[in-house]
């Protein structure tokens, strides 16, 4: 079968691009090696849409940061994922850092980022009374937002599929060959023959480029550990708190996530292993020591979960986006921070690249921009809850009690593509709360088994070999 485009990689970049491409009469397939989209870099990050002023306009990432930032409101309105502009404060704790704040403010102003202001202690105490008294000034950016990044991936992919994208998960690319104008993309689940190959393979983008015979860069994974805190601390800060940045990192942040819980992190550590998602004692110490200086009310006692993510950093420290020596093979690589912020702008840029490389892009009149919004029982009013539970009894059963997620929401998530416990968790929050799945794991397994018609032993945490239970010895192997 002949395709116009094969997108390799179902992270937020691949998903945003796929969704943008589906505006046009384009025949495209997205191949993803994990069981679901968004299961790589995109699920484990700080969940921030950056204000637009952090990256220098001399870099590609700096230009796309502010462009992307402005596109999220409409995406959210259309796709309904968690997104809220809560603003940020970059705080200075000594005189020397005041210059950094001024430089950031100027940089933002140069890029056209509105609303940047320096706040003095009185204003800071008023707006964020739980910040350390050591904070002497702060740069406020109202344009910064928090987002549920995995929800954004799921919604982008779901919308793309509704508009004609073919999505093939659990399928790793094993070979890439060009014959004339046509590529052959071999995967563990069959071959595809497109004119264009988009390399959005994240941590493996250099290896995919190598398969295509055009490796021109290397990906250096840079790990970030994040620590999620108990709901008790919800509201301790209202906006994202940044320390003054250093040349290598934006530092350890205090993030009031979209769902209200506080997350602290990330660390920044170069690692060799592209699968190294380990957290460490040293990482925890570094995070909580840094946070203590800024928001002293936060302590590691309140940690309920931790995770690590990897940034896909290219040698140049900038995004690597563009055509290559092999016609039809386009890199969208090295997408480190602010990659999530820039994703919609990157998608549009790659569409333009495809057009200039010879792919005709004709608008599709029947493109549907939205997806039905998932219902969140807990956030409905009592009257709405009464009405919904009466109309759809499965919304009247609670699956996850820490986050008040109903069975209806879990079943809906499965119908929209969740195949694993993590897939349910990231779509509905079931298992994300205080008990971390202690109670709802069995209920979610029951629903997965029922809806997908699979035995419990086939259910996984996140695909691959991440099985949850096995058969009793006297029953033999499944």
């Amino acid at each position: 079968m002949l395709y116009d485009v094969v997108i390799i990689g179902g992270g937020v970049i691949g998903c945003a691009l796929a969704r943008e491409l589906m505006r046009y009469r384009v025949h495209a397939v997205l191949v993803e090696k994990e069981s679901e989209v968004g299961f790589g870099i995109s699920k484990a990050n700080s969940g921030i849409i950056h204000g637009g002023h952090h990256a220098s306009p001399t870099t590609l990432k700096g230009r796309l940061e502010w462009d992307g930032n402005q596109m999220w409101d409409q995406l959210c309105a259309e796709l309904g994922f968690g997104f809220k502009r809560i603003g940020e404060l970059t705080v200075a704790v000594d005189e020397a850092q005041l210059a950094t704040l001024a430089k950031l403010q100027q940089q933002g102003a140069d890029k056209g980022v509105p609303g940047l202001e320096i706040w003095l202690p009185e204003r800071i105490r008023h707006e964020e009374p739980n910040l350390s008294a050591a904070v002497i000034a702060a740069l406020h950016a109202p344009t910064t937002a928090v987002i549920n990044p995995y929800e954004a991936c799921f919604a982008l992919a779901e919308n793309a599929c509704r508009n004609g994208l073919e999505l093939v998960t659990a399928s790793a690319v094993t070979a890439l060959t060009a014959t004339g104008d046509t590529w052959t993309v071999q995967t563990t689940r069959g071959s595809f023959h497109p004119r264009f190959v988009i390399n959005a393979a994240g941590l493996y983008a250099d290896r995919i480029a190598e398969l295509a015979g055009v490796r021109s860069f290397t990906i250096h994974p840079r790990k970030g550990e994040e620590y999620l805190l108990d709901r008790r601390l919800a509201g301790i800060v209202k906006q994202i708190i940044f320390p003054c940045p250093t040349p290598v990192s934006k530092g350890i942040l205090v993030i009031p996530t979209y769902d209200g819980t506080i997350m602290v992190g990330p660390t920044a550590e170069s690692v060799d292993d592209r699968e190294d998602l380990t957290t460490s004692l040293a990482g925890a110490e570094a995070v909580f020591a840094a946070v203590e200086g800024v928001v002293p009310g936060i302590s590691e006692r309140d940690c309920i979960a931790e995770f690590a993510g990897l940034r896909a950093v290219a040698d140049s420290e900038d995004f690597v986006i563009g055509p290559t020596a092999k016609r039809g093979f386009i890199n969208v690589a090295g997408i480190q921070s602010p990659g999530l912020t820039a994703a919609p702008a990157i998608a549009r840029m790659v569409c333009d690249l495809l057009r200039s490389e010879g792919l005709p892009l004709q608008l599709k009149p029947d493109f549907t921009a939205s997806v039905p919004k998932p219902l969140h029982f807990a956030s409905l009013s009592t009257a709405e809850q009464i009405e919904l539970a009466a109309r759809e009894p499965r919304y009247g059963h609670i699956a996850c009690r820490c986050e008040t997620v109903s069975e209806g929401e879990v079943v809906d998530a499965i119908h929209r593509g969740a195949r694993t416990l993590d897939g349910i968790k990231f779509r509905t929050r079931a298992g994300m709360g205080r008990c971390q799945g202690g109670f709802c794991t069995a209920r979610c397994m029951e629903l997965l088994a029922r809806e997908l018609g699979v035995p419990y032993t086939a259910i996984t945490k996140r695909g691959g070999g991440s099985w949850i239970v096995c058969r009793r010895q006297d029953e033999g192997e499944a």
């Binding site: 979960a305 059963h397 202690g438 991440s466 099985w467 096995c470």
Partner: protein, 443 residues
């Protein structure tokens, strides 16, 4: 399934009990017996009984029923009494909200969202297990790291195994029970690792679940790293120093596909917070008076939601007290208010209840912070009792009789557990008070 029909959930009750585990069932029975005409138990599982259904091992009821029962047998006996007493039980129902006026918003699988009001409420929500996040074990996040209670549910209720070779972190009772249970299922249990220098489960469980099966217990040892991308492949364990810091150059690897966590329980007080009940940061549960009433008038609490108990029998005892006072409260009977505050003193982590009254007998539960051999329990200057061996995992029960408070004129009493000098004489060694005959409502 034992459920009232949807239409049978009334709009008003004398006493609403949140949670249908052993605490909730005993409280409802006692409330009914004390004169509350309309009593409702709300339980979120498909059947009331709580965690007892998955506790298929024996060892329940030795104090209360004077015989050894399994968890489901213990639950069944109470459930039968509850039904005989004409108490409404609504299962598969979740309390979404409760306010200080005891208006309860609930969602029932069968009846949808309802709002009911009660004259008194008993909080009996129980506890949940601490998870990996609470102790921040470094390493990867593969499948196969789960609480011992979830593994127990897999094996005993669903009929699946959590893995083939298991390491257990923490020596809480559920972990010890699961070490034995999984061994009986043919699963290899590589060992139990406990960061403290003493076990955190009951002595009888150490003997019957570990020693009898040759399962090693490594004290002062903890898991320092979890390995495996998709599924656990091994854990690294290391001994710890006096300050509980791992000694990394003495670490070793334990191959396993599963790590069970048995690192303690946390009272489930989300609803208590919603009604702004005052909580004790040490127990994690409500501050309660001698009638088990919380800081909110007419709201009582009992069982693991107040503090973590060793035995279900003690939960039952506490719940009968809470239920009786909730029932009396709606019939207008109130005992004299408490006039003495109990203050945890030397080597005492907490005491429950937090206050007592000089006019009647009280059972006070307390836990020590550190193990002590040959100690004495001292209540202010008014009472002293010798104890043989105390350690944090075993709750100490203290009977306070009005007689010992007759000459006391203060308003607070410190409770200490102190080392004791001199040699033991035979009469010193008996510290267990005879359990009183508990009041069981007649069917």
């Amino acid at each position: 399934m034992i459920t009232v029909k949807a239409t049978q959930i009334g709009a008003t009750y004398d006493v609403v009990v949140v949670g249908g585990g052993p605490a909730g069932m005993a409280a409802a029975l006692a409330a009914k017996d004390a004169g509350a005409a309309r009593v409702l138990i709300i339980d979120r599982e498909k059947e009331a009984g709580g965690i007892l259904w998955q506790c298929i091992h024996a060892g329940f009821g030795l104090h209360y029923f004077k015989e050894e029962l399994t968890g489901p047998e213990y639950a069944q006996r109470f459930l039968e009494q509850v039904l005989e007493h004409d108490i409404d039980v609504v299962s598969d129902t979740y309390v979404l909200d409760i306010d200080r006026n005891k208006q309860v918003k609930l969602m029932s699988g069968a009846a949808g969202v309802r709002i009911i009001s009660a004259r008194a409420a008993v909080l009996a929500m129980g506890a949940r297990e601490r998870t990996r996040g609470a102790i921040r074990i470094p390493g990867t996040r593969p499948a196969g790291v789960m609480t011992a209670g979830l593994a127990q549910k897999f094996v005993n209720l669903l009929g699946y195994l959590p893995g083939r070779r298991v390491a257990i972190l923490g020596s809480g009772d559920i972990g010890l029970i699961m070490a034995r249970r999984l061994t009986l299922e043919g699963v290899e249990v590589a060992g139990v690792f406990e960061i403290m220098p003493h076990a955190n489960g009951l002595g009888r469980n150490i003997v019957q679940c570990l020693h009898d099966f040759g399962i090693p217990l490594h004290l002062s040892t903890t898991v320092v790293h979890i390995h495996g991308r998709d599924r656990v492949e091994k854990v690294t364990v290391a001994p710890v120093d006096d300050r509980l810091h791992p000694i990394m150059d003495k670490c070793w690897d334990v191959p396993c596909d599963t790590l069970l966590l048995s690192i303690g329980l946390i009272p489930e007080n989300e609803l208590s917070r919603q009604i702004q009940v005052r909580l004790d940061p040490v127990t994690g549960g409500p501050v309660v008076s001698s009638t088990m009433e919380t800081s909110v008038d007419g709201v009582f609490a009992c069982g693991n939601v107040v503090h973590i108990h060793d035995l279900v029998d003690f939960v039952t005892q506490e719940a009968l007290l809470a239920g009786r006072h909730a029932g009396e409260c709606v019939t207008g009977k109130r005992p004299p208010a408490d006039n003495i505050r109990l203050v945890p003193g030397e080597n005492v982590a907490y005491c429950v209840p937090h206050t007592i009254s000089t006019d009647r007998e009280h059972t006070v539960y307390l836990r020590v912070r550190r193990p002590l051999e040959r100690s004495c329990l001292r209540l202010g200057e008014v009472y002293e009792r010798k104890l043989r061996y105390v350690f944090p995992a075993e709750m100490i029960t203290l009977k306070v009789r009005p007689a010992i408070l007759q000459k006391f004129h203060g308003d607070s009493l410190a409770v200490h557990v102190l080392p004791r000098d001199g040699s033991a004489s035979p009469e010193d060694l008996d510290d267990a008070e005879q359990p009183t005959v508990w009041h069981i409502p007649e069917a």
